[in-house]
């Protein structure tokens, strides 16, 4: 078995075992922390499809993360206020059902990614980074001054949304749900990378001119990947909103985009479990250093710096060796 496969298994099992143990020992906050890791890793898995597989360095993925979050709020807030979602042209009630919210978030994320991607993919390189950032900022400023959903204050959904057969208010059950979604997304990402589409995407990333000469439109391939990526990140956004029972424009800020990207790079770009490793390490550092000094961010910075300089290829790359599968 390849070392990376072993490492992936360790990560998958570790992320499962830690909260279970914490639950047994009566440390519910560790469970919450693990849930956060799973959800942010999910956002990273989404970004990794665009960034790792497709080479699209998007600094605007907070847009999809936020779209997912707001999709949750838009659907759940009316229920909380005992009002219909809309009355015109037909009456539609909101919902507190997670599966419905997830579908809505993914559709909204996919549509957002389609619109943003279609325009952004005209550019490449650093211009792509910046145009995705621009779209993210537009949504951010829009959300700040959108009074219906609290503007800068955001909006609280006091009770977590429901999932058939589960008590989502119980931290461990909500964790299980988030973990399951993460694993499903990793599966999708794995199948995608090995598929014919994944190969076409790799070709489009590495040599778009050549790809076109082979009859593959790099634009269409990349846009498709971007839409899938946006949908997964939006799903993560919906879950994150449910974790906090709260949505605000900060989900849409460029710092959020940057953090999602940091998870991916930290874990290892284009590595299946890279976002999981990256999110886990980042949250762990943040949690551990936070209790350590008022200036903990200084140490966080130094730790990150050490990792970039000396652990090339991210955590997975360093631990599992550089070679990527060439089977």
């Amino acid at each position: 078995m390849r070392r990376e496969t072993v490492l992936n298994a360790v990560l998958a099992l570790g992320l499962l075992a830690v909260p279970l143990a914490a639950q047994a020992m009566g440390e519910p906050f560790i469970v919450t922390l693990a849930t956060k890791v799973a959800i942010l890793a999910l956002a990273g898995v989404g970004l990794n499809i665009a960034l790792g597989l497709g080479g699209m360095v998007s600094l605007g993925h907070a847009a999809f993360f936020g779209i997912g979050g707001y999709a949750m709020a838009v659907l759940a807030a009316p229920v909380q206020a005992y009002e219909p979602l809309m009355t015109w042209p037909f009456e539609l009630a909101g919902t507190k059902s997670m599966p419905v919210i997830w579908v809505a978030a993914m559709v909204a994320g996919a549509l957002g990614a389609l619109a943003i991607g279609a325009l952004s993919l005209r550019t490449s390189g650093v211009y792509f980074i910046m145009i995705t950032l621009a779209f993210g900022q537009m949504l951010y400023y829009f959300a700040i001054s959108w009074p219906a959903y609290g503007g800068e204050d955001g909006i609280s959904i006091y009770v977590r949304n429901g999932f058939p057969g589960l008590n989502t208010l119980d931290p461990i059950q909500f964790f299980a749900l988030s973990y399951g979604v993460l694993m499903a997304a990793l599966m999708v990402s794995w199948v995608l990378a090995r598929s014919g589409f994944g190969l076409a995407l790799a070709g489009a990333r590495q040599n778009p001119v050549r790809s076109a000469a082979l009859g593959i439109r790099p634009y269409s391939v990349k846009l498709t990947a971007f839409v899938i990526s946006g949908a997964i990140t939006a799903l993560a956004g919906a879950l994150f909103a449910d974790l906090n029972r709260f949505v605000s424009p900060s989900m849409l800020s460029w710092q959020t985009s940057g953090e999602i990207m940091v998870f991916v790079i930290l874990g290892g770009v284009a590595r299946l479990f890279g976002p999981v490793a990256g999110a886990a390490l980042f949250i762990l550092l943040e949690h551990w250093l936070g209790g350590f000094s008022e200036y903990w961010k200084l140490f966080l910075g130094l730790a990150l710096l050490g990792i970039v300089l000396f652990a090339r290829g991210g955590l997975i790359g360093t631990l599992a060796g550089r070679e990527v599968a060439h089977d």
């Binding site: 199948v191 995608l192 090995r194 598929s195 014919g196 589409f197 994944g198 190969l199 076409a200 790799a202 070709g203 590495q206 040599n207 001119v209 050549r210 790809s211 076109a212 000469a213 082979l214 009859g215 593959i216 439109r217 391939v221 498709t224 990527v324 060439h326 089977d327």
Partner: protein
């Protein structure tokens, strides 16, 4: 006479004040190798770019199998059966030789939007790719990332990818460049063979190969075709000697 597979009609393309392609017309007929020679900077690669769709002409038409493809993009022309190689090797550097060629086969078959089936587990794709790799003489290097290949090997990969498109016409930009003498010889034999599958528009500075292979030769100078004919006619043309071949070739 059969209808030409590829026909270029009065193409024009300028870069600023420079007329890189200045009214070029030429045809490529079934089973022939049509060599395009000319001094450096004459506009050969520009012409290939116009034919393949990487560049848009200012005026003129490109007709492939009787269909006007002037407005079609690069990918559409590739699907319509046009295979090109690049003067500077253009490969996906992190993919292996095999993956590169599978990518090409998959592109040609229009199977690039399959989301579930692993590409390399697809025996149909894989077998076809392996055959092309063998033909280009790279069998032993199948699992090497394309970026790690030596220069000459990369040229072979270029050709393998062109073969993988199973095209109606080849447009090859200096396939011999960078190949050692034995490589050039193998390539010559391979192209000789290939012309029966699809005709070849061959841009090449290796005159040994051109004179051995070409059914017809056109000479491009400053964006215009100044002569066109058989190898013998071209070699004897004093204008061509002066502009391109030099005295050495007078023998």
């Amino acid at each position: 006479m059969t209808e030409p597979v590829l026909e270029v009609r009065d193409l024009h393309r300028a870069f600023g004040a420079l007329k890189a392609t200045d009214g070029v017309s030429l045809t490529l007929r079934r089973s022939e190798i049509h060599a395009l020679i000319g001094p450096n900077g004459a506009g050969k690669s520009t012409l290939i770019g116009l034919i393949a769709g990487n560049l848009k002409p200012d005026a003129g038409q490109v007709v492939l199998n009787g269909r006007d493809v002037t407005q079609a993009d690069v990918a559409a022309r590739a699907r319509a059966g046009l295979a090109r190689s690049f003067q500077v090797s253009a490969v996906a550097a992190e993919l292996t030789v095999l993956q590169n060629v599978v990518l090409a086969v998959q592109g040609a078959r229009g199977q690039s939007f399959r989301f579930f089936r692993p590409a390399l587990a697809n025996t149909g794709l894989r077998a076809a790719a392996e055959a092309h790799i063998a033909r280009a003489g790279l069998s032993g290097r199948r699992a090497i990332p394309a970026g790690d290949l030596a220069h000459g090997e990369r040229r072979r990969l270029e050709l393998a990818m062109a073969l993988a498109l199973a095209p109606r016409a080849f447009v090859l930009d200096e396939p011999m460049a960078g190949m050692g003498p034995d490589g050039a010889r193998e390539m010559t034999a391979l192209l000789d063979d290939l012309r029966h599958e699809a005709p070849i528009l061959l841009v090449e500075h290796d005159m040994d190969a051109v004179f051995a292979l070409a059914d017809r030769v056109s000479v491009l100078v400053s964006g215009r075709i100044i002569a066109s004919g058989t190898v013998a006619e071209i070699r004897a043309d004093p204008e061509v000697q002066r502009a391109y071949l030099g005295e050495e070739r007078l023998e």
